[in-house]
């Protein structure tokens, strides 16, 4: 089993296509949609985590490409401005998936990108406005 996080950009004409159906039925993948911005007639964007066989994921990516969808590996979308952060730790109190934690010992802020579901709770909570999410 493999797991990858994909950043999908849909051209306006494709923005209403039911890709979840194809990912599940045709490629036996388990998609987990983390973020999505879909408006009919406009360019859409989706952050999806897919789990399944490695070759199935590769085939699904090829399919998405044929459908005119731009596929990229999800980049680090959570940006922590260390110059602003005072390591108060409040973001760790609202991070349900446990992506933001404080290290034992030195209490440094640790971000585990794999656990982040891009819910923006930290963005809202941060009193220093040090966290931004690009997508």
């Amino acid at each position: 089993m493999a797991r990858r996080r994909l950043d999908l950009t849909f051209p306006p004409r494709q923005a209403t296509k039911a890709i979840a159906y194809h990912l599940v039925k045709d490629y036996d993948l388990v998609p987990n949609f983390l973020r999505a911005q879909i408006q009919p007639g406009q360019q859409g964007r989706m952050l999806v985590e897919v789990s399944g066989k490695k070759e199935s994921i590769d085939a699904a990516i090829a399919f998405l490409g044929e459908e005119g969808i731009t596929v990229a590996e999800a980049a680090s979308d959570l940006d922590l401005d260390e110059g602003r952060c005072v390591v108060c730790g409040l973001c760790t109190a609202v991070c349900k998936p446990g992506a933001l934690t404080l290290a034992t010992g030195d209490y440094a802020l640790v971000f585990d990108k794999d656990k982040c579901v891009y819910c923006e709770a930290c963005v809202v909570a941060c009193p220093r406005r040090a966290v931004t999410l690009t997508f």
């Binding site: 005072v86 390591v87 108060c88 730790g89 973001c91 109190a93 609202v94 404080l102 009193p127």
Partner: protein, 390 residues
């Protein structure tokens, strides 16, 4: 075994004083015992870096030509008090901007001044014989101000509540967003490093005590507002809920942006992180006992902020060690925790203060006047009533 202030100061002056942080002292006491630790160590330094809403600065702008008696005053669109002499003002950290709301407030103006940025000053006045000007629009920098000093009416709270929310919706508080149905717990104290938790009955911290204020050398000016020495205390005499506070004064021009940071709490308002540290002399074993306490010994009370009343219900007490573990148990449920007071910054403050006392030879002085002691004064609420009921 007892050491006098004079003996400790003589050791500081000669460069022989043993100065350690409260965390280091606890380790020495654990290894060698409290008696040996008290004999060995002369001064213990403390530190805290949490949001402290009751903070602000007095500023004097100097006089323009012709002069103005400033009535309404804004700095970068943030209102400041016009209720003082012609060109004096007080800017409180929680004041929101007229144009940007709580995303920019008094604390952000102070942060910009500290960073050396020019700040736009606008004011209007009534126009009088001695102050004929009625309007001014100019730019000021920290360097050019005649005086600029912190006067923070309430800092370094001695302990604080642990905040949870039992309601069905997220509540936005000065302790951060509290998730519904006990979804999280936030807390705000440096625990074993916190100044007043290390001197729980205010034996050494009082009016005139030298302290670290936002990176500047400052003084305890008075008891802080809402100072409540009568709070419930544990077997060590340490309060288990918000108790004592101090008002502090220090030169803004000597402060550092490293130890003062503006804050915006979504759905609540503006505040500021203020770094405070106080050196505590190890006078005897009694004070050494409380200096040796660790986060495992200090408790805080869990309060339900989902209930918007003055007296909120409690879910009992937990220790700071439990809170720091990232999870506490409330009524059998595991609740994730997160701090609001920065422990890395608190540690840094205690280290800086260690250098000030040890290397810069900052001698200490007994309080000129003690803070109100346990049993000395009541903490009163505000009743809503009409004139006849007074």
């Amino acid at each position: 075994m007892a050491k006098s202030w004079e003996e400790i100061n003589a050791r500081i002056a000669s460069g022989e004083a043993v100065v350690v942080t409260a965390e280091e002292f606890a380790e020495i006491a654990k290894a060698d015992g409290v008696t040996a630790a008290a004999r060995k160590v002369d001064v213990v330094t403390t530190g805290t870096f949490g949001p402290m809403c009751s903070s602000g600065v007095f500023l004097n702008f100097g006089h323009s030509d012709p002069p103005i008696k400033m009535g309404t005053i804004t700095l970068n669109d943030v209102p400041a008090s016009g209720g003082l002499a012609a060109v004096d003002t007080y800017l409180g950290v929680t004041e929101p901007s007229l144009t940007k709301g709580i995303e920019y407030g008094g604390a952000h103006v102070i942060e910009d001044l500290l960073a050396g940025k020019a700040v736009r000053l606008k004011a209007t006045g009534p126009g009088t014989d001695c102050y004929p000007r009625t309007e001014i629009d100019t730019w000021v920098t920290l360097e050019e101000l005649n005086q600029a000093y912190f006067f923070n009416p309430r800092n370094a709270y001695q302990n604080y509540a642990v905040a949870v929310n039992s309601s069905d919706r997220t509540v936005f508080t000065y302790l951060g967003p509290l998730l519904p149905r006990l979804g999280n717990a936030t807390f705000c104290s440096a625990g074993a490093l916190s100044p007043l938790l290390n001197d729980p009955t205010y034996r050494t911290i009082g009016v005139g005590t030298r302290c670290f204020v936002a990176g500047a050398p400052g003084y305890v000016a008075w008891e802080g507002t809402q100072h409540n020495p009568n709070q419930t205390r544990d077997d060590h005499g340490v309060p288990v809920a918000p108790a004592g506070t101090i008002a502090v004064i220090a030169d803004l021009k000597a402060a550092s942006p490293e130890f003062f940071s503006a804050a915006t709490f979504t759905g609540y308002g503006v505040s500021s992180f203020v770094g405070i540290g106080v050196p505590i002399p190890v006078l005897d074993e009694e004070i050494a006992e409380t200096l040796a306490l660790t986060d495992a010994d200090i408790q805080a009370t869990i309060i339900d902020y989902g209930v918007a009343t003055r007296s909120r219900p409690s879910f009992g007490r937990v220790t700071y060690a439990q809170l720091r573990s990232g999870e506490i148990t409330i009524e059998g449920r595991k609740v994730p925790t997160g701090p609001i007071s920065s422990l890395p910054k608190a540690r840094r403050i205690a280290q800086v203060l260690k250098e000030w006392v040890g290397e810069r030879r900052w001698t200490l002085a007994p309080p000129l006047q003690p803070l109100p002691q346990p049993g000395s004064q009541a903490f009163k609420p505000l009743e809503i009533r009409n004139e006849e009921a007074v």
